[in-house]
Symmetry: C2
Subunit: 256 residues, 2 copies
């Protein structure tokens, strides 16, 4: 429910090199041939650091830059006048955020959950890039389609599933996405750095009830949790709880 403070700042360290970027296969530039990467890199303005709890952009703001999340977790959300918050998406490394079409104001806000690093792409250079390289434009369409599909699943969860089903569903999704990103040397990446309030606001329930549901899952041995930390222990049991359609299951295996 907290609002956070705006706080994007240029990263002082030497920017990472797109050619050796460990998350590029997940991101917008997946479509770019390796030998062209130093060419595309010029479209990136710079790398930014954003500390935990800081706001990247706010609903209604006009932003002239899009971002690829390089490191950290960021959440997208909207707020109601009465202070209720709905988390729309948890962005993980490789995810593309903040893209809006033709100078429209942002329809949601974004806040860092953990300390994060982002690669910025200014609107004008991005549209030039899309003009010159249709395959990257096509990748954008593909990313949008995938986001849309995820959002439909989310509406389904929040609208029709019980609290425990909805949370199980969300944990499976995060688990699968972490596995995609998990490089052999990074076992800790399967701990989710989320507070129970963030989980509750994603699932559309209250923090108190989220706590009880999480306790239930913990008692069943499905997950382990602590302060801003959740780890999935038994994905299969989680799947049986989540009330998932067969289609969704296969989807999560093939990836996108």
């Amino acid at each position: 429910m907290k609002n956070g403070y705006s706080g994007l700042r240029a990263r002082k360290e030497k920017p990472t090199d797109c050619r050796v970027c460990p998350i590029r296969n997940l991101a917008l530039f997946e479509a770019v041939r390796d030998d062209l990467l130093d060419w595309t890199q010029k479209y990136r303005s710079q790398q930014y650091a954003l500390d935990a709890r800081r706001v990247l952009y706010r609903e209604g703001e006009i932003i002239d830059e899009s971002f690829t999340l390089f490191q950290g977790w960021i959440m997208l959300f909207k707020m109601l006048p009465d202070g209720k918050r709905q988390v729309l998406r948890f962005a993980l490394p490789g995810d593309f955020l903040g893209f809006r079409d033709g100078g429209e104001p942002a329809n949601h806000s974004a806040m860092a959950i953990t300390d994060s690093i982002l690669c910025g792409f200014p609107e004008d250079r991005l549209s030039q890039l899309f003009r010159e390289r249709p395959e990257i434009f096509a990748k954008l369409v593909s990313i949008q389609q995938h986001d849309m599909s995820q959002c439909y699943d989310h509406v389904m969860s929040v609208g029709q599933k019980s609290a425990i089903e909805s949370i199980a569903c969300m944990l499976i999704d995060l688990h699968d996405r972490c596995l995609e990103r998990d490089t052999a040397g990074n076992p800790k990446a399967l701990d989710f750095p989320l507070s129970q309030e963030e989980i509750a606001d994603y699932a559309g329930i209250t923090l108190v009830h989220a706590s009880r549901v999480i306790k239930e899952l913990r008692d069943k041995g499905v997950i382990d949790n602590g302060h801003r930390k959740i780890r999935v222990l038994d994905v299969e049991q989680l799947r049986s709880i989540a009330n998932i359609s067969l289609l969704e299951e296969t989807e999560s295996i093939t990836g996108f």
Copy 2:
């Protein structure tokens, strides 16, 4: 909760002419200059008729065609194994449906609410069109962005709003979209041809509760309703009930 039967059939009447299409300014071909329309028209395969309650496509199906809805109302939805249904979107004339990227199976189903007419665009011709005319490709991105924004609003409604707020919200959205489409000679277009079950499945509540909420709105004089018919009488009061953020309000005025 009904499943419907597949039933797309070629329309026997002479196809309408894109050049005099009354809904083109809302649709994918908005970006096309008038004098090029007979050129783009060749990308349309044909017009189809789809009777009420018939399925256009089903979750998991691989479809090789996208559609612009020319006449009628169509709903997009998903179903859970236990039979619960979530309506994701009500498509109105001019809306673009069924687009999926690169041969992926559909992530939702679509069923006609009223007798409908659709213009079909086969996948291969569409991607050729996108290659040859980047401005139409850009319009696709813009449509996707808009759909995404609507979907975020929907998650917000279903997750954080009360039943009456959620339904008020949905009626405002439909009302505004009908107004956009309403040509002077068509006053009846402001009656929504929805059953209470469809409304309930969109708002994420049960049909019984939807009936009570609708009665409450009727008693307040905000709406009038009958068999598969709802008419908004007092948009302003509806807005005050809907618990809308100021941003959303202006958005609905400027259109997209």
